[in-house]
Amino acid sequence: MSLDLLNDFGNAFLETSWMMGIAILFAIVIGVPLGVGLFVTSEGMFWQNRIVQSIAGTIINIIRSIPFIILLVVLIPLTKLILGTSMGPTAASVSLVFAAVPFYARLVETSLREIDKGVIEAAESCGASPWLIIKDVLLPEAKSGMIAGLTVTVISLLSYSAMAGIIGGGGIGDLAIRFGYYRFENGIMIATVIILIIIVQLIQFAGDRSAKAVNKR
């Protein structure tokens, strides 16, 4: 393998990390509050609100039902509006954020549903405010599930980020397409696949380890 190619791999890796990093950051910063919001406004919870539930639920479902490849194309105008360009890893991260936030919000909501309702009731019987219950009961109790959900999200994002190569998003996927697919360089194609497999394994391993570490059940 030539030095140039090694350089390309290094760059592609950095680009993938960059767009994934942005998407993960937004998934956590927006997805967690959204997931908590969905849960605490559900039936029987302290901020029960059917209108918020159905509006947020519908929007999330719509975004989640759009195939990522379509989302990539549909969001090009918006990306241009925000960033002034639709090329490069930062531009690709816009559609990754759109895919990641609703996906992770649902996973957060699901892990909150796993909490025994009695524990929440007990916290209410102590006279705790909703905010204290969210901070001190809901989030700690769902932490393990939320980490497991984040692992799933990150791995899905990795395969999405490879797709971003198609619209010139850069990253490992872009490399695989440009060299491996368009130039029929099977070696590079195989190398990128192996790299992706290793990354997925590492993410899964790290995710499982930390989910287990915080689980006190």
Partner: protein, 333 residues
Amino acid sequence: MIKVVNVTKTYKDVNAVDDVSMTIEQGEIFGIIGYSGAGKSTLLRCLNMLEQPTQGQIFIDGKEMTSLTKKEIRKERLKVGMIFQHFHLVSSKTVEENVAFSLKAAGKSKVEIKKRVAELLDLVGLSDRAGHYPAQLSGGQKQRVGIARALANEPKVLLCDEATSALDPTTTASILALLQDINQKLGITIVLITHEMAVVQQICHRISVMEKGKVVEEGDVYDLFADPQTELTRQFVQTVHSLKLPQRLLDNCKGTIAQIIFRGESAEEGIITETLKEFDVAINILHGQITYIQDRPLGTLIIEINGERAELESALAYITTRTNQLEVLSHVA
């Protein structure tokens, strides 16, 4: 301390609690007994407004709970602790942190919390488990954490939702002893719901018996044991205090079989001896049992009486006047 006035709670056309009124005095241990689905758990949850009653009023320590805003209810809940059948501890928090949660809810400072948590763990005998997680504790220990959490803000009332139903008999006894201790030392009013008459017998002062959302009988525990007025109460009493004679024995009996209930002092008098002296009858004791309800004896005796009809009847009448409670189970002509 607690006043429930015509409370009804309706779920989809079903009255889980149906027009219930009761008054619970300061310092009392009040039991609510009933089978599953009798509405006792719903009623208990109405007391601290975890369930909003559909109709009626609830007063705790003079405050009308049913008229308060959400924020005011939260403030009142600090004065009403609650413990649960399945403990409901936060699994990701240590024993210490679980207890501290209540104090955080009351807005206490870190220093105060630290001091109070230590006191509470000492009270429930778990000082050496402060750093453990709930999963590392036994059922009895978990319930002790639950009690510490419920008592954190020095409540006036403690609500117990089947608090011992998930525990083995020995642990149940120790938790009940702890509750009794709390009641006596701290003067906290305790309301407990249960389906076990043994629990009521051991610590309650007064009870309500519930069925289909209604209170069917209410009174002093001893009176209810000695003289249950309804079939349901009788069934509950029989779970801890019942005499069953083997059929063989009944078949062989030639005389009248009678059941006598002795209450308090009369259990200590020699009624049988005196009856034998006064009347020309023969008495054969078939079965007997004495149950202690908070140190007061309640005796049941099943006897067979033989003799001339006139003598027999006078003897039965005599025992009836002395004990007030005699029930003829069978006559053999």
